[in-house]
Symmetry: C2
Subunit: 662 residues, 2 copies
C-alpha cells in the first residue's frame, strides 16, 4: 500500500463505520452501498470534486448526485466528514428519525450539499444530465470562468436498468456532455440476488453505442480508481466509470451478497467489521487524524472558490449572472402589453397556440427560459423565435429537441432547475404525463420551478382516440402535493397562467392546453385572475339558483348553459377555475364569495370538465351535479365526441332542471 | 423485378392506396408509416405470418403487434386485404369516425386481429415480449405442437427511443426469446425532423449489447427483406430487423420527410402518388387480381390451423389447454378452506404477507398464474413454493425475476394476458405505480386480467421517507376507468380481494398492501364481502350519529375511534371500503343501507385513509370530515409518522366532536 493509500484507506473506513453504525442505530437502512463505494467516493472527494464546505451553494461548485439514493449514509458521511455545517454527528445519530435532516433517502430540501432528492431509481442520473446541460449553457452564455464545473454521479445497477437510463444517456451522448462522469457501482448484486438473475446485458457496450466513453477500474484499488477517473476527465464525451466493487465491503460474512443491501448488519457482524478493518473508534466517533485528513479535502475547493469570487467581482457579467442564479425574474413590460392587447382583441385560439403566443413574448423578456419538447414541437407549440436549438455544437441555444423521451426530458428539466440559472419548460401530450409522472412528482417534492406544457388535454383532440385522450389525468395531477395544475379557458387566462407559473420559485406548474380553438371569455386584463385560482366570469342576472364551475375548454360551454338557464329565468353564475390549488389557498372570504355556503336546494353547484368527475364533489357537494367523463374516450372528430359524451347545452341543461325540480 | 416481386409490388401499393385515401377522407391520421412499411408488411403477411383470417382468435396463430400504432391504417389494410371479416371496406371508409372499428389507433377491444392496443409509444414492443414469454411457457407446459408460434412486431424510432424499450429488450434478451422478431421501420424521421436532431445512438450495437441478433435490409427490396427475415427466423436469439425505409414511400414530393407522418397528403399529392405507382383504381377499390393475391396469403395458415385442430383433438392435454386459453378458473376448494381458517384464526399480519399466504394457496390451485416482481421479491411477497423461476433454460417456471424494470414488467404482463393461457401478477412498491402507470392504463383500456401487487402502501412504510411513501397514488389509481383498486384491511379481506381479482376476466386489479402488521377485523368468511366494495364492519351501539369509512390499515384505527365515541354515547358505524369501484357498482338499496342519505348534522360521515383526502368528498359529502394526508410524507419510524400526520384516536375524535358540536 502506498503512503497515499495508507491515508485514504482509513478515510474510507470512516464512511463504512458511520454507515453501518447509523443503520444499526436506526434499525433500518442500506449499509451495503456506502460500504462498497466508500473507496471510490473517498478518491472523488479528496482528489476531484470541486467543493467548498463553507459555501454549499457556491454557483460554480461541482455537482454531485447520489443517484442510488438508498445509499444515503454515503452522502451524509461525506458531507459531515468534509466539514459541511450539516449534517452534525447528532443528525447522523438520528438517521431516519423524525426531524433529522438525515432522512432515509437524501432530500434536497432538508440539507445543503444534497443537490437532488434521489431514491426513485434512475432519476438521479437523469437529473444530472440536466445539470450538465445547464452548466454548458451557462458556460457559453456567461464568461466561461464563471461557470466551469463537472457533474458527478454515483449510480447502481438499478439506476442503469431502469428505462429512464436509456433516455438520459441517449440525451447526454447526443449532446456530448463531456463534463459529466457516472461512477457505476458495479457490484453485480440487486435486491433479488445476483444481477444475472434478471439481466445479461453488456452495459459497457450499450453506453459506447450511445456515444459515451467507458473505462473500468477496481473500485477498491485507490490508484486504479484514480487512473480511471483521470481518463474520464480527459475524454470529451460523457464518461461511465465501471467500478468493480464488493457490496458491503468490510463485512466479513455478508459482503458480496444482497443481505447487506437494505438491512442492518447486526451487532455481531459490525463487531467483526471493526476487527477486520482495525477500526477501534466507538460508534459515531472519528479519530482526529482521520477527521483532519477529511477536513483537508475541502481546502483546494475553498481556494478555487476564493479565486472565483475575485473573477466574479471583476466580470462585467457578474451581476447578471448572480441575478440569474438567484432566480430573479426581470420586469415584463412587453408581456403586460401583450395581455392588455389580448383583452382588447379577444382572439379565438387554441390554448396551446395561446401558450406559444405568450412564450413568444416571455422567452424574449426572460433569458433564463429554456424550452423543449419530446418530439412534439409543432403540436405542443413550445418553440419561439428567441429559442434557437441547444446542440452539441452550440450550447448557447435555448431549445432542446428532447426526442421521444418524455421521462428523460422531465428529469433533465428537474436537473436544470436544481442547477439554477435557467427556467426549463418542456412539452408533450397531456396523456403522456403518465410517462413522466415520476419526474413530475420529484419536481413537486424537490420544490423546483419547472413548467410542463401538456397539450391535447381532453377528448377535444378527437380522432387519435382513447390512448391519446386524457380522462383521469388533470384530476390525478391535481392530487400531487405542491404542484400547480393550470387549465386555462382562453388566451388571456393562458398568459396569466404562464405569469403565475414563472413566479413560483419553489414549485412546479403544469399547463393543460387544448388542441382546439377556444373563444375569449374576458375583456379586461387589469388583475391576474388566474392567480386567484377561480373567479366569477359571469354573475347571475335572475335570482341565483345555479353556480356553474368549469375549466379550460368547458368555460365557454358553461357560459352557453348559463345563457339558456337565464332565458328560463334561472339565475346562474359561471365560475372559471383555471387552478384549483390556488383557489384552495385563497382566504375564506374570497372562497365563500365565489362559492357561497348554501344547500343544493338553495344554490345548485355544477362542475363541467371534460375529464373524470372523481374529486369534483369537493366543489359541488354531495347533491351537486358533476358533468364529466368516467370512461375512456373514443376515436372520432372532436365535435362528435363532445356530443357523444354529453358536453352540449342540450345535454346539460335538462340535468340541471331535474336537480332543481323544474 | 422478379416475377414474384412483380406480384408483391402491387399488393404493397394496395396498402399505400388505402392508407392515403382513408387518412384523406378522415382529414386526419398518419399515412407516412403504412406507406413506408407497406413492402415489409407485404412480405411478412404473404410469406411468414401464420394466421387464419377465418379464425382470428386461433390459439396457435402468430402474434403481430403494430407497436407504432399511429400507423393504424397498415393493420386495417392488412386485415381487410387478407380476408378477415373485419374491417370491411365501409369500416375503412369510416376510419377515425364515431363507431368505426378503425379507430385512430388500433384498439384490441374493437376489432379481431388487432392483438393489442397501441399508440403510447414503446408499449407494443414491450407487450410483445410478454406474448413471447407466454408462448414459450405454454409451449413447454403443454405439448409443443399445440403452442408453437412466433411474435412479430413493427416498431418505429419512437418505440426504440422510449425508455421502456431498454427494459423490454433487456428482458427479451435475457430470456432468449428467439421466436420474437422486431421489424424496425428505420426511416430516420421523427415528428420534429431527422432523427439526428435528437439522437446519435448506434441502435444495432445497443441491441447486440443486450443479447439480440441484428440484421439489416433494404425495406423496399422484397428479396432483401426476405433474406433478412430468413436470417432472423433462423437465429435462436430475439431478432431486430433494421429495415431501411422511406417514410411516405410513393409520395413524390413529400416522401422521406416528417410531412408525411401525421397529416393527410392532400388531393394533389395523392393524385401524384397514383400516377407514380400506376395505381388506377378509385379510392377504396382494390383491383380483383391484387385482392386475390392478398386473399391467398391466408391459405397456408388455414391449412396449418386445420392440422393444428387435428392435433388438438388427439392430444391428451387438448381440453386442459383450451380451458386455459379460455381463461376459465378452476374450483378453489383449498382456498375456501384457507379463508375459513383465517376467519377462525384471525392472524395479525401485514397485508403483503397475507397476500403471500393467499398466493401460496392460489398458485397451487390455479396453474395459469405466473408471478414476478421488479426486484422486490422479498418485499412484495410475490413468490410461492409453486412458482419456480421462469428462465431462458427453463420456460416451465412460473416466476419472473423482472429486474428493476417496473414499466417493462407491467407491459409484459399485459402481453401475457393478451396472449392468453396465463394470468400474470407482478409486484413493486405502490409509489412506483407511477413508473408503470402508462401500462396500468393500458391494462384497463385493453380489458385484460392482470393483477398488480403494490406493497408499502402509505406512510406506514416509515423510514424510507417521502420518495417511497404513496400519498396521491391510491386515489389517483381509483380514477383510471375499468381498474379495480383494492386496499384490504386484514388477511381475510386480502384473500377475498385476490379471489375477486382473479374472477375479473376483462379488467385488471391492483392490490395496495401494507408493509406493517394489521389486526384481523372479521371472524366470518361466509360471504365474500370485498366483492361488495364496502360493508359495515361494526354497527352503532348507541344512536347512530357517525359513519366512519376507512380502508386498509386505517380500518382498525376507525374501530378504535368508534369505540371511543361509543364510550361517549355517540353511536358510530364503521364501514370498510376495500374497493370503492365495486361499491359504486352495487345497487341503490345496498349503497343507501351502508351510507344512508342524511344531512351531516344528522349523521356525520368521516373518511379515514392514510393518503390524500382529494376525492373522498364523494363519500363524505361537503360537510363531512376527511382524515388524510395532503402533503408529502417524511422519514421516520411508522409509528412516529402516523402520530405526526394525525392518525390516532386522540387526534381524530376531537375533530369529530367539533363537527358534531359536542
Amino acid at each position: 500500500m502506498s503512503l497515499e493509500s495508507s491515508r485514504l484507506a482509513p478515510m474510507a473506513n470512516a464512511i463504512r463505520a458511520l454507515a453501518m453504525d447509523a443503520v444499526q442505530a436506526a434499525n433500518s437502512g442500506h449499509p451495503g452501498m456506502p460500504m462498497g463505494m466508500a473507496d471510490v467516493a473517498t478518491v472523488l472527494w479528496s482528489k476531484y470534486l470541486k467543493f467548498d464546505p463553507d459555501a454549499p451553494n457556491w454557483a460554480d461548485r461541482d455537482r454531485f448526485v447520489l443517484s442510488a439514493g438508498h445509499g444515503s449514509m454515503l452522502i451524509y458521511s461525506l458531507l459531515h466528514l468534509s466539514g459541511y455545517e450539516q449534517p452534525t454527528m447528532e443528525d447522523i445519530r438520528n438517521f431516519r428519525q423524525l426531524g433529522s435532516p438525515c432522512a432515509g433517502h437524501p432530500e434536497n430540501f432538508l440539507i445543503d450539499g444534497v443537490e437532488s432528492t434521489t431514491g426513485p431509481l434512475g432519476q438521479g442520473l437523469a437529473m444530472a444530465v440536466g445539470m450538465a446541460i445547464a452548466e454548458r449553457h451557462l458556460n457559453t452564455e456567461f464568461e466561461s470562468d464563471l461557470v466551469d464545473h463537472r457533474t458527478w454521479v454515483i449510480a447502481g445497477d438499478g439506476c442503469l436498468m431502469e428505462g429512464i437510463n436509456h433516455e438520459a444517456i441517449g440525451l447526454a451522448g447526443h449532446l456530448k456532455l463531456g463534463r459529466m462522469v457516472v461512477l457505476w457501482d458495479d457490484n453485480q448484486i440487486t435486491i433479488d440476488g445476483k444481477t444475472d438473475l434478471s439481466t445479461s446485458e453488456d452495459i459497457k457496450a450499450r453506453y459506447e453505442a450511445t456515444g459515451w466513453h467507458v473505462v473500468s477500474c477496481d473500485g477498491h484499488d485507490f490508484a486504479d480508481i484514480e487512473r480511471a477517473m483521470d481518463e474520464a476527465v480527459a475524454d470529451d464525451r460523457p464518461s461511465l466509470v465501471a467500478c468493480r466493487t464488493i457490496i458491503g465491503k468490510g463485512a466479513p460474512t455478508k459482503q458480496g451478497t444482497s443481505a447487506t443491501h437494505g438491512a442492518p448488519l447486526g451487532d455481531e457482524e459490525i463487531a467483526a467489521v471493526r476487527k477486520g478493518l482495525g477500526w477501534d473508534a466507538q460508534a459515531f466517533e472519528i479519530p482526529e487524524d482521520i477527521l483532519a485528513d477529511w477536513r483537508a479535502t475541502g481546502d483546494s475547493g475553498k481556494q478555487a472558490h476564493a479565486d472565483w469570487r475575485d473573477r466574479l467581482v471583476e466580470s462585467d457579467k457578474g451581476e447578471d449572472f448572480m441575478d440569474r442564479m438567484n432566480g430573479d425574474l426581470p420586469d415584463l413590460p412587453d408581456f403586460a402589453q401583450y395581455k392588455a392587447d389580448l383583452a382588447a382583441d379577444k382572439p379565438k385560439v387554441a390554448s396551446r397556440k395561446a401558450s406559444e403566443m405568450a412564450l413568444g413574448v416571455l422567452t424574449q423578456e426572460v433569458p433564463a427560459m429554456i424550452g423543449g419538447s419530446a418530439d412534439l414541437t409543432g403540436s405542443n407549440n413550445t418553440k419561439t423565435p428567441s429559442t434557437g436549438p441547444l446542440t452539441a455544437d452550440d450550447y448557447s441555444g435555448r431549445y432542446l429537441y428532447y426526442g421521444i423521451r418524455e421521462f428523460g426530458m422531465s428529469a433533465a428539466m428537474n436537473g436544470m432547475a436544481l442547477h439554477g440559472g435557467v427556467i426549463p419548460y418542456g412539452g408533450t401530450f397531456l396523456v403522456f404525463s403518465d410517462y413522466c409522472r415520476p419526474a413530475i412528482r420529484l419536481s413537486a417534492l424537490q420544490e423546483v420551478r419547472v413548467v410542463y406544457v401538456m397539450t391535447h388535454d381532453s377528448i377535444g383532440l378527437g380522432e387519435d382516440g382513447p390512448t391519446h385522450q386524457p380522462v383521469e389525468h388533470v384530476q390525478s395531477l391535481r392530487m400531487i402535493p405542491n404542484l400547480l395544475v393550470f387549465r386555462p379557458a382562453d388566451a388571456l387566462e393562458t398568459a396569466e397562467a404562464w405569469q403565475v407559473a414563472l413566479e413560483q420559485e419553489d414549485r412546479p406548474s403544469l399547463m393543460a392546453l387544448s388542441r382546439q380553438g377556444l373563444p375569449a371569455i374576458r375583456d379586461d386584463a387589469e388583475e391576474n385572475l388566474v392567480a386567484r385560482g377561480a373567479y366569477r366570469v359571469k354573475s347571475a342576472a335572475a335570482a341565483r339558483k345555479v353556480i356553474l364551475i368549469a375549466t379550460g375548454s368547458e368555460v365557454s360551454l358553461a357560459l352557453d348553459v348559463a345563457k339558456t338557464l337565464e332565458d328560463q329565468n334561472i339565475g346562474a353564475d359561471v365560475v372559471s377555475m383555471p387552478c384549483a390549488e390556488l383557489f384552495d389557498e385563497q382566504d375564506e372570504d374570497y372562497r365563500s364569495d365565489i362559492l357561497p355556503n348554501a344547500q343544493p336546494d338553495e344554490i345548485l353547484r355544477v362542475s363541467i370538465e371534460a375529464g373524470t368527475t372523481f374529486g369534483w364533489e369537493r366543489y359541488t357537494m354531495m347533491n351537486g351535479l358533476n358533468i364529466g367523463i368516467n370512461s375512456f374516450g373514443a376515436s372520432a372528430p372532436a365535435g362528435d365526441l363532445f356530443e357523444k359524451f354529453g358536453f352540449t347545452v342540450e345535454a346539460i341543461v335538462p340535468q340541471i332542471l331535474t336537480k332543481l325540480n323544474k
